[in-house]
Amino acid sequence: MKRLLIAGVMLASTLAWSGPVLAEPVDDTLEIDGMPIVTRTKAPEGHPFDEVMSGWLFREAETRDVERETIENPGMIAVEDGETIWNTVEGTEGKSCATCHNDAAESMKGVGARFPKWDADSEKPINIELQINKCRTERMGAEALAFNKGGQQELTAYIKHQSLGMPVELDLSEGEMQSWWEKGKDVYYTRTGQLNLACASCHEVAMGKYIRADHLSQGQVNGFPTYRLKSGLTSLHQRFRGCIRDTRAKQPKAFSDELMALETYVTWRGTGLSVETPSVRQ
């Protein structure tokens, strides 16, 4: 009887362990229209992980397939809209983006892989969205675009798409980028909200596990603006704010110092990954 009982206990414990405990990212390689995309690479020095991994590896097979061909990628519609905006004259100076920058395929190649950069005028890091606004107000005589309005996401997606496949690399030696990086790191590891979660709680400590039906990735930003199956084209600061809302914290404003520091730090965490804009995620 006792032996039976022990066997029963052993069986129960075996069953308890047999479920999918850890859901590792998949072993798959990505080519977009035949162009190889780096989805796994060695982490830069001082990184908490040994290997940085694109969020693409954490998605379902069907979602991953959509990104393999640009014609299948719904985010490309936004990129086309962005191209229209690029060529549209606005403002008092009678200029469009193309007036100064000509063909984006050449002038914007690599740009999406190197932002955010140091902006000496505002003494802050500047991202693509704010750089667009700077050009609009200082050179085109047009009004700055409000967050996620007036085609801001589409134009950003178009500019970043020109760097498709190029590795993300930030220059932290410019200006005070290093101290903003430190500030961003603080934001990343600070627990906030009623749920008391930091970015790291999900994207570092629990990376690879499931949070209900959602597979937690490293939270890389190499594919932003991204096409999300639930909300369409989604900008980075929209995603930051969404994540922060989910911790039930007060959301910082888009492009606030807090989120610009976070963008600097999180972009660095994806050093070496290819730009995937517009990536396809769930």
Binding site: M76, I77, E83
Partner: protein
């Protein structure tokens, strides 16, 4: 309104092979059923016909109606007898014609 259409045709194929062709054009496909803020109907403007020919020979043709959603996407198969060029045409209600072509080499 519509920007340049996107097409995907393999660069090469073997003789008689069945290939897959994909096309997509950005277009509002305004159905004519909707009203603007002031309650006035928004006039219909859709792409009403799509045609694909190979060296003058019809491969695929399709009439589009107002129920078709924005950015119409077509995927179809074709058998290629020899090297040549696929020609694609989209007809807009306003009389515009959008065209694209893609060559294929048969080895």
């Amino acid at each position: 309104m519509a920007s340049k259409p996107r097409i995907k045709v393999p660069k090469s194929a073997s003789a008689g092979e069945v290939i897959t062709i994909k096309t997509l054009i950005s277009h509002e496909m305004e159905s004519g059923q909707r009203k603007d803020k002031d309650g006035n109907p928004i006039p219909r403007q859709i792409i009403n016909k799509f045609t694909c020919t190979f060296e003058g020979q019809l491969v695929f043709e399709c009439d589009l109606d107002p129920a078709i959603s924005a950015n119409p996407y077509f995927e179809f198969n074709a058998k290629v007898p020899a090297s040549g060029t696929f020609q694609f045409t989209w007809l807009d209600d306003d009389g515009s014609v959008y065209e694209a072509e893609a060559p294929i080499e048969v080895k």
